[in-house]
Subunit: 382 residues, 4 copies
Amino acid sequence: MEANRYDTYSENTAGRANVADSPERVAYYEELARLETGALWTVANKIEPWAPRSASVPVVWRYQDLRGHVLRSAELVSPEEAGRRVIYLNNPGRRDVAAAVGWLYSGLQVMKPGELASAHAHSHSALRFIMEGRGAYTVVDGHKMTLGANDFVLTPNGTWHEHGVAQDGTTCIWQDGLDIPLVNALEAGFYAVHPDLNQTVTHPVDDTSGAWGGVALRPQVSGWTKPYSPLFKYEWEPTYEALRRYARTTAGSPYDGVLLEYVNPATGGAVMPTIGASMQLLRPGEHTKAHRHTGSFIYQVAKGSGFSIIDGQRFDWTERDIFCVPSWAIHEHANLSSNDDACLFCFNDLPVMRSLSLYREEVVKDNDGHQIPSKPLTTWSS
Amino acid sequence: MEANRYDTYSENTAGRANVADSPERVAYYEELARLETGALWTVANKIEPWAPRSASVPVVWRYQDLRGHVLRSAELVSPEEAGRRVIYLNNPGRRDVAAAVGWLYSGLQVMKPGELASAHAHSHSALRFIMEGRGAYTVVDGHKMTLGANDFVLTPNGTWHEHGVAQDGTTCIWQDGLDIPLVNALEAGFYAVHPDLNQTVTHPVDDTSGAWGGVALRPQVSGWTKPYSPLFKYEWEPTYEALRRYARTTAGSPYDGVLLEYVNPATGGAVMPTIGASMQLLRPGEHTKAHRHTGSFIYQVAKGSGFSIIDGQRFDWTERDIFCVPSWAIHEHANLSSNDDACLFCFNDLPVMRSLSLYREEVVKDNDGHQIPSKPLTTWSS
Amino acid sequence: MEANRYDTYSENTAGRANVADSPERVAYYEELARLETGALWTVANKIEPWAPRSASVPVVWRYQDLRGHVLRSAELVSPEEAGRRVIYLNNPGRRDVAAAVGWLYSGLQVMKPGELASAHAHSHSALRFIMEGRGAYTVVDGHKMTLGANDFVLTPNGTWHEHGVAQDGTTCIWQDGLDIPLVNALEAGFYAVHPDLNQTVTHPVDDTSGAWGGVALRPQVSGWTKPYSPLFKYEWEPTYEALRRYARTTAGSPYDGVLLEYVNPATGGAVMPTIGASMQLLRPGEHTKAHRHTGSFIYQVAKGSGFSIIDGQRFDWTERDIFCVPSWAIHEHANLSSNDDACLFCFNDLPVMRSLSLYREEVVKDNDGHQIPSKPLTTWSS
Amino acid sequence: MEANRYDTYSENTAGRANVADSPERVAYYEELARLETGALWTVANKIEPWAPRSASVPVVWRYQDLRGHVLRSAELVSPEEAGRRVIYLNNPGRRDVAAAVGWLYSGLQVMKPGELASAHAHSHSALRFIMEGRGAYTVVDGHKMTLGANDFVLTPNGTWHEHGVAQDGTTCIWQDGLDIPLVNALEAGFYAVHPDLNQTVTHPVDDTSGAWGGVALRPQVSGWTKPYSPLFKYEWEPTYEALRRYARTTAGSPYDGVLLEYVNPATGGAVMPTIGASMQLLRPGEHTKAHRHTGSFIYQVAKGSGFSIIDGQRFDWTERDIFCVPSWAIHEHANLSSNDDACLFCFNDLPVMRSLSLYREEVVKDNDGHQIPSKPLTTWSS
């Protein structure tokens, strides 16, 4: 709002506020301000928009641009100084909260063979998607998970966790995904350093995959009551195999191709209360139709290359690139290969949208459902 | 109760009915009977027992005894006459309701290459566990599932379903498991023959495995709201692999070894509202401890050989044998092989026990937790 | 089945078993019997009926017939001998399981001022609906509830409970409703006498009504996780008031008039996992349309007089009479008063039908939706 | 962060980032910024705080200060210009999002007899708590609710709704409570004006109270599946009566006195997915102990007078005053009357905290659990 103007947001539409400033009114507004109040009609049209206008912008972060900087961070600061050597993705529209998109944080972390970070816990929920290197592992509440490329691991709200790379491994880089901005905004962020700085592994290695990693199977009398998945690691190979098998029996979604959501096997629901994750496969040459919906999405290209059109702008991507789709942004994806499939890993805040009944979707109707880059769209169907 | 006696169930314990007959009382009882009533104290101790006394007895049905008869049924009656050629398991204590144990029905069905049964639907829930043969398939509401040995398939309450064997298959035998006695007892049994006698396959073959057969994955926006699993087929190979992987990271249950319950992947709960199923692995030489609990259980030996002690009686079993454990019967299992594992498939009414809050369990404390065949047990711990 | 005949249940319909006996087949059947098995086709049409055929018959138990006998029981046997002085309702079709209808038990209990029954617990669930007298109370797990006419109280599965009448009260009669036959049939019945024969009241009197008896309110951080309602007493006055208020804003159900189900306020679901309850109001002169559904129902006339037509037979009832509607029986209700409403209390096994996905309903289409007593019905609509 | 400094947030604690700026590092940081990235360790301690630090401050808005301004707004702008005449509460720490506390909006609205606002719908959830006047009503999706002082009404996410005052009523003032800032922050805010500007009342007046306003009762076969309460109006009288009845059987919470949460009677859960509400009673002279927890809370004094100590600062309040408690602020309440109870209405974002597993609580241990105004606290117990 301009200084000294209170009618900036007026709209000349029935049912919307349309109150011109007058000296008497401005005097009134100033009185209200002294009482820590305001007149709703001066801000109503601002705070009740017709549709979401995301503060985030679409961005692609190319791995070839970032990889060198990520590796360099390991030289520039020690683990003891930095805690973790991470280059975080800073959406131009979200620099104030260090978010990659919406209320989601993401960063690229590097760790060298034999390194082990100190253990901590926080009320933020996190996942870690491995990009390169051998020997990475994570310990969560005494459970140790070994990790390879395209695997991901959960470190949920409240768990003690720490990351490391085996002595005989190689330098590892992974993507971290967290709800830090969301939890901070909700004023519910807590952080603790483990009293012993590192925890003891108290279960057999990869035991959560042993207990919960079967197809439609659960351990007898599991007693699991926590609000996140008891399966901490999601492996690439069975996921990719499942996608290919699913692709043989489904036409897939017109908007997302062949998409599987990772779930908490104890409930069939999201992996954590605040973060969902999925892997989707675009068939050779597949170009999906455009739609838009609420929720913020961060993609990593797990396999292949192609492009996405987001709010009319084309973003090319190849393996390991990361890009984001802000809430209510129109988007469509294309696999540029004519003989190989492309896979996109995604994490998002869909569980929040669903828990709070805020999910909404709309599809493009004109131009056969596709955006014309740089031209605005006109007709929609909910 | 003896004719003309009304005090048969008296117990001389505080808090229990203990009313001796007298001429005045007997006259009163007879008057009550004319009003379609009775005096509670004449039956209270009968209808409020201290603990369950199952009407069923433990039985083992040996496949070597039954196989010939099952095959012969295919000669003795035509599919048109019989509908289905099935030898059902008739527990000596449950002949009135044709149950194998408790309120569960089971039978062995045979079908020859090229045969296809007519389609029907019923409010009974069913599963079908393949014992031998190649080429078996089942169609459920337009979804066709191909089936091999140790696979099982659901045909839930209300679905149109039919079974067949491919022209190029071999004679197939499978075990049927149903809740027929339960649903009849609850006076909720409905049956319908498909108007066209057979249904059309409307989805790609094995499509439910495509959509729901991944590890901790679900199809996007599944919209599944039915009370049973959207995954209709549970395959032996991934199950056995999961059991072996689980065995590497768990000590297992002292009473059941390494046991995984089959679940509805959309909810993490039982595969159907009235029937649960599990596969358990006994390690070479493993002999579990004894316990008892409510619920009725039918086992098929999917692999290996061993024995179970049920209420003090030893039952030896080998691959394809079927045996039952009645509610509240003490039981323990042993794998007789010193170098190979044994696997028991089981279906049961645990979902009923759990939905109705009737599950209860007790473990044997004396003799290091083992029964001495033919000697009653004395000490227990809930 | 007749002795020596195995084809009694044959039906000459495609998709149904239709196998005539022959000497060879009979010999085969006899061999099967020796192996504790049978041929399914000899019983298939029996155990897979087209629709439920209830073993129960409709009955009305008139209070004027029973009241004297109930009072006399208190003279004929002492509380110490009988435990409880109860006349139970014995459906002619269910005498083997002492059920009033289906798998539900009901009885009329009497207690004199100053009497207190011993405390016990069982895995059967129970409720108690007060018919007459002042000063009745029930203690459940240390909570004491005072009770007046048309109030009812829960004594759920596993709770310690005992009934009494205050010293300054009057002789009280109430109706007990239990799932004894169901839980016994499911072989899950346990019974225990309280070690001290009576329990101590450990909470303020009627405290569960204090905590949970508000309109759409719950106590802060209740922590309630048990599978039954934390509100143990349901009072007549607020219920009747709610019915009358509801009647002013609803047309009601064509089949049930103005009906409210009692719920567990912590979940909005049934009061106990195995027993549901409701109170319904028939407006002056109201005559509902006929329908049938699965589930067994016991009604007590809480107010007024009228009649019900059940499977073509008219049963007149007045205040305090009890009647039952068996599963799948066609029924309709009528209030005979032209200026006063009539109220029916009901308890039933609907929660079982719903948990196990066995509820099904069908409405009468011909004759404007009404039965003609003693004439069978022909057209239906699910 | 200061301009040109990147080490502002360093902490000298094991497990926290502690990286001093150096020319080489600063050059590196600047390169990262060009790639829309940053070094996590420069912001880690900022974005992972040890505990929440709310942006909101405690405020009390006194009705005697605001009432005149609220009434004046009705003179200063017409309903047509303003849409709604509302003075909103503008927390000094949340002016950027027009929140009263955290992500909750609140305002005082005035309407004169005969006025009717235009109907709209939005994805924000709202409630309306009546402060004064006769004849207020709200229409939600065709259901009309009449409202008196201390009643509140829901206008949930997605419903068409409009407010009015009857021609024969008096000028009404009420408090609005919405999740506008939250839904906007989550980029999921949609708004629509009703195509006819006003909707038709399609149900009997107050019908949702008829159907759902009983004590532990639900209408038969309600079919309600929406994520918010089917009871749209919560009335003061039965609530106050319930509080007083509850007070007779409970000691209450040491931190909140006698508190009842308003619930969705179909589920026992919160009234809407994003907003919870409660009414609490402080007995004459009651002074609660201090605690703190996550979640943002807005209180209106429905009855009586007293004070609250919030983060060491005392706020006195009397009937109709409004005050807020920010997330993780220490707070305790006191009723200053020695012979009358005091009642606080509250709405909050507890359902969000619970759905997202972010609720956490801590109690003050020293000074007998009370704050000493203006002195910081030291010892805590989770």
